[in-house]
Symmetry: C2
Subunit: 340 residues, 2 copies
């Protein structure tokens, strides 16, 4: 069985998905009995290419590698819905840049696809934050599937575990390290005793932190992820602005050293707690006992501990970002949607 | 939608499943749109009770609690297949005691159910170890589903994660702490400096270790789990006898102390490694760097680190045993089989 796949957004993550699909062609057929052919790629910078019989992935990847373009292919024009139809896509992977205010351009892509019954996976936090209810309702009414494993912890299967692997459990509490940049900085401050400013400089020079690091260090990114978890797990709307949020700018090397001497590690913890049926969401630097797995999380790695009635505490540790890791999130959703 | 459920084996785990089903009646309907009614319970000690319209769970649980029996109910007689048919079961949860040599009585229960198209979940390592290929083939040919989340790490969703959450990844290596008893003993030796013999005594008095502890401390239990993982993940037969196995009886407090001073924790590691396409399976005490999450695993907790091409290392930590934790493994499989 061959599924026609549209890719919206061909940056790092979209390209990684194409690479994985190209590498794993034989394995996917053998193991799962189906495969994908990419019939549409659209990207704001690189233009739109379309081939209902399947684009030549080797050639696409050569173009992307050599000139960061799709210039070997004739460009297609048209509204997004029309392109989806001409490409006969039955699934779409959405990996355009995140806009947490409007959700665009991902939101329009996803609406357009779902309303045509095309299954969608996205790694884009924007549409999921802005329009989760609308999109899940639309998917249901159009008989399409909508998945978004990559919006938290990239391909580390946190959402899959919460929604399927722990089905039947009642989640009481979630606490985790959901921002790699701040964990890198705190790890650095702990290991080398460097100041916050020096550790931030190193994170920036290594590409972990952006030129304006406030989204990470003030806890906005982690708060956005907690807000998504509140929706997905508890079905509750907690806008980012209502997350009780404190970043790491006030954490000093002295504080970290003192905590360490007392048997604790300082971590930026994003949490969700059910208090009398009302979820309380927060992001705050917290002292974690060294005996707890979250204290051992180093560098840019992410981790989440989930407390439930049936299982007590379960902890999942894995990458929180990365091009191939996030491409994997798209792939795992595509495989699940083919199997459902 | 109501599913008729048969329960084979009503000991600790089976009873825990009944308790959870009774507690979560409303939640299951509300959240998943289906529910279960238990139409058959059969247990070697407690006899067989049957009611195609659904047994009164409150009354069953009262009986079990007050007299560890099912004596308020008239007993049914007959061959197992006939009982399944009379009870009109469409699903079966199998939780009889484990026999790693013959797989019985679970093996017969599972064969009988699958051959009638009845979906099966089991927490019983016996049948899965002894007849994995036969049972998966039988399930397929009869249009029945066969799941076994609870055979490794109880309800901690390791198998679900490997088979679904990480689909599309190629697993290169698995290393974990899969036996709670030995990890309890090693933790004790590390924290209080006690000898192996003293720590074992404590584990026995707390009910973690059995009267004959060799299954745990010689690494047989962990080897059995590695053998199952080799089958489930790599599709390879590695009999327990071919697992390169060393237990913890030779571990001394001095060795643990020395490792700790050098920044390591001694853990009984069960591993599977792909070497040139051939999986190598082992169980051995190993020094784990304190910076690695596996070093932080205390007491009877289990944990597994999985190394893959697309995600690097992902670690899952959770309970490895417990009546409710293992009952949850049955429940999560039942939910998945209803949704598939």
């Amino acid at each position: 069985m061959i599924h026609n796949l549209a890719l919206a957004g061909c940056g790092n993550v979209g390209t990684a998905l194409l690479e994985i699909l190209n590498e794993k062609r034989a394995e996917l057929s053998e193991r799962h009995g189906f495969n994908f052919r990419v019939t549409l790629i659209t990207d704001l910078m690189k233009g739109t290419v379309l081939e209902p019989e399947g684009l030549d992935l080797e050639k696409v990847l050569k173009d992307l590698k050599e000139s960061n373009s799709l210039d070997s292919f004739p460009k297609a024009q048209g509204a997004f819905g029309e392109l989806l139809e001409r490409s006969r896509s039955t699934m779409m992977a959405e990996a355009t840049p995140t806009n947490l205010k409007t959700g665009e351009p991902g939101l329009t892509h996803i609406r357009t696809a779902l309303s045509r019954g095309i299954h969608v996976t996205t790694t884009n936090k924007g549409p999921v934050s802005v329009a989760f209810d609308e999109l899940t309702t639309l998917a249901k009414s159009c008989g399409a599937k909508f998945r978004y494993e990559g919006v938290v912890m990239s391909g580390t299967p946190l959402l899959q575990m919460l929604q399927y692997g722990m089905a039947g459990c009642t989640v009481q509490k979630i606490e985790g390290i959901l921002n790699g940049t701040t964990n890198f900085i705190l790890t650095k401050m702990n290991e080398s005793g460097s100041s916050y400013a020096d550790a931030l400089d190193e994170a920036t020079s290594l590409g972990y932190a952006e030129a304006d690091p406030s989204g990470d260090v003030e806890g906005w990114d982690a708060a956005g992820k907690v807000s998504i978890l509140a929706k997905v797990i508890f079905g509750k709307n907690i806008p980012v602005s209502e997350v009780d949020r404190q970043g790491i700018t006030c954490v000093t090397p002295e504080k970290i050293k003192e905590a360490s001497e007392n048997g604790y590690a300082v971590k930026l913890i994003a949490g969700l707690n059910m208090l009398n049926g009302i979820p309380y969401a927060y992001v705050t630097p917290k002292e974690i006992p060294l005996s707890h797995p979250l204290a051992s999380i180093k560098g840019a790695t992410n981790a989440v501990s989930i407390t439930t009635d049936n299982l007590g505490e379960v902890t999942l540790i894995g990458p929180g970002a990365g091009r191939r890791e996030t491409g994997q999130a798209l792939l795992v959703d595509l495989i699940a949607m083919c199997k459902d």
